[in-house]
């Protein structure tokens, strides 16, 4: 390591306002090499500028020049690929990937994102040549998140038998790649999907949950009672079974469970309880015109402004009761 050389490089970067390109690896580089890279004409082109990051010092100038001179960068569809990840590939591999025939087809174009550089040419080929992509129902799955799955995993998901059934088709969305084939199988084998009342819960948001939590929510006793069925909306997957139970029990304890709505389930139980206690103490009806009083749908700031009700203060005031 030549300290003097590194000091000169640092000075050069400072003069050109490129201090962000400084990194540990630069200590092993020659001043001449650095200035040659920085003086490359290519950097004058806006589209190449994102590629000038500190990772560039890991490569030789010929490789850099060769990659930037590829003819593909003239085409708009390939421009999203111009990110520093590209340096993980050789120019020949980049060329082979970009010359694949798939990029002529509209349906594959959303896959042209920088995540593609995490895959090898053979893996890309293997994934894109899968016969499933000929079926329209699988096309929504062609998004860049596919590059984080292996071709085996993709094959295992797409070959599951459930996709033959219409009721499961809304689940074919990119979030499915968050799940393993086993988890998908376990979720779709649940007996609940045989009942109509649960079918509208089969939406992509189910993949954000996990099998344990899905089971916890669906096994709650409330769903056996028709008066709670309207609470079964797909936004339920963002909630925990504990929270749902707490809210329903709160409304039940006040005999107002008929006024529960899906949006109430997304409120803090403690805040609702404090506001209910405030209503009780101030002779304000919690139920107004057959609905939950509109003060329950006010944002906290607006509630303070319009009614002088400070929920946070109320929560402190009713702390003992709330516990």
């Amino acid at each position: 390591m030549n300290n003097l050389e590194y000091e000169l490089i640092k000075k050069l970067l400072k003069e050109r306002h490129l201090e962000h390109l400084d990194c540990e690896y630069l200590k092993c580089r020659k001043y001449k090499f650095v200035i040659n890279v920085l003086d490359m004409e290519e950097w004058k082109n806006e589209k190449f500028k994102p590629l000038l990051t500190s990772t560039i010092w890991n490569y030789n100038i010929n490789k850099i020049k060769k990659i930037l001179s590829l003819p593909y960068w003239k085409e708009e569809k390939f421009k999203p690929l111009l990110t520093p990840n590209i340096w993980h590939k050789s120019s020949s591999e980049i060329e082979e990937i970009l010359s694949l025939p798939y990029w002529e087809e509209e349906k594959f174009k959303p896959l042209l994102t920088s995540s593609i550089w995490h895959k090898s040419l053979s893996e890309i080929n293997e994934i894109l040549s899968l016969p499933y992509w000929k079926e329209e129902k699988f096309e929504p799955l062609l998004t860049s998140s596919i590059w984080f799955s292996s071709s085996k995993r993709i094959k295992d998901v797409l070959s599951l038998p459930y996709w033959k059934e219409d009721k499961f088709k809304p689940l074919l969305t990119p979030t499915i790649w968050h799940k393993s084939p086993c988890e998908i199988k376990e979720t779709l084998d649940l007996p609940y999907w045989k009942e109509d009342k649960y079918l509208h819960l089969l939406t992509s948001s189910i993949w954000l949950s996990n099998i344990k939590k899905i089971k916890e929510i669906l096994s709650l006793p409330y769903w056996k009672d028709i008066k709670y069925e309207h609470l079964l909306t797909s936004s339920i997957w963002s909630l925990s079974a504990k929270h749902i139970t707490e809210l329903i029990e709160l409304f039940k304890s006040l005999n107002i469970e008929d006024y529960l709505t899906p949006s109430v389930l997304h409120k803090s139980a403690k805040q609702l309880k404090a506001l209910m206690l405030y209503c009780q103490d101030n002779r304000i009806s919690v139920i107004d015109n057959g609905k939950l009083n509109s003060i329950f749908s006010y944002p906290l700031g607006a509630l303070k402004k319009a009614y002088g009700i400070d929920i946070k203060l109320l929560m402190k005031e009713y702390e003992r009761v709330l516990k």
């Binding site: 949950s209 949006s263 139980a269 805040q271």
Partner: protein, 99 residues
């Protein structure tokens, strides 16, 4: 959650952890949430913290999809921003349309 933790008061963060499932929270895309919050701020939604707390599942929508749904809601209700300030439930229709 990293972005939200830097944006919201601890009281709101506590509410979020009380209401939402931890797996759901860890699946939130910080950049997407940030873009939606910026859009709400640009639209004068000063009560965005309440919207985040009570409608966080909507922030799971892709930014463009969220904007389309919100703009549609704006067409359906004149003075939507003021209206939402006392009737946040209007956002419920954005949930219905992603089901």
């Amino acid at each position: 959650m990293k972005y939200l933790e830097s944006l919201l008061d601890t009281e709101y963060i506590d509410d979020i952890y009380e209401i939402y499932d931890e797996d759901f929270l860890s699946a939130l895309d910080n950049d997407n949430v940030k873009r939606i919050v910026e859009y709400l701020k640009d639209n004068g939604v000063y009560y965005y913290s309440d919207i985040i707390t009570n409608y966080l599942d909507l922030f799971m929508l892709d930014y463009n999809e969220f904007i389309n749904k919100f703009e549609k809601l704006k067409l359906e209700h004149t003075h939507l921003i003021e209206l939402l300030g006392c009737k946040m439930d209007l956002l419920e229709s954005m949930r219905e349309s992603y089901e």
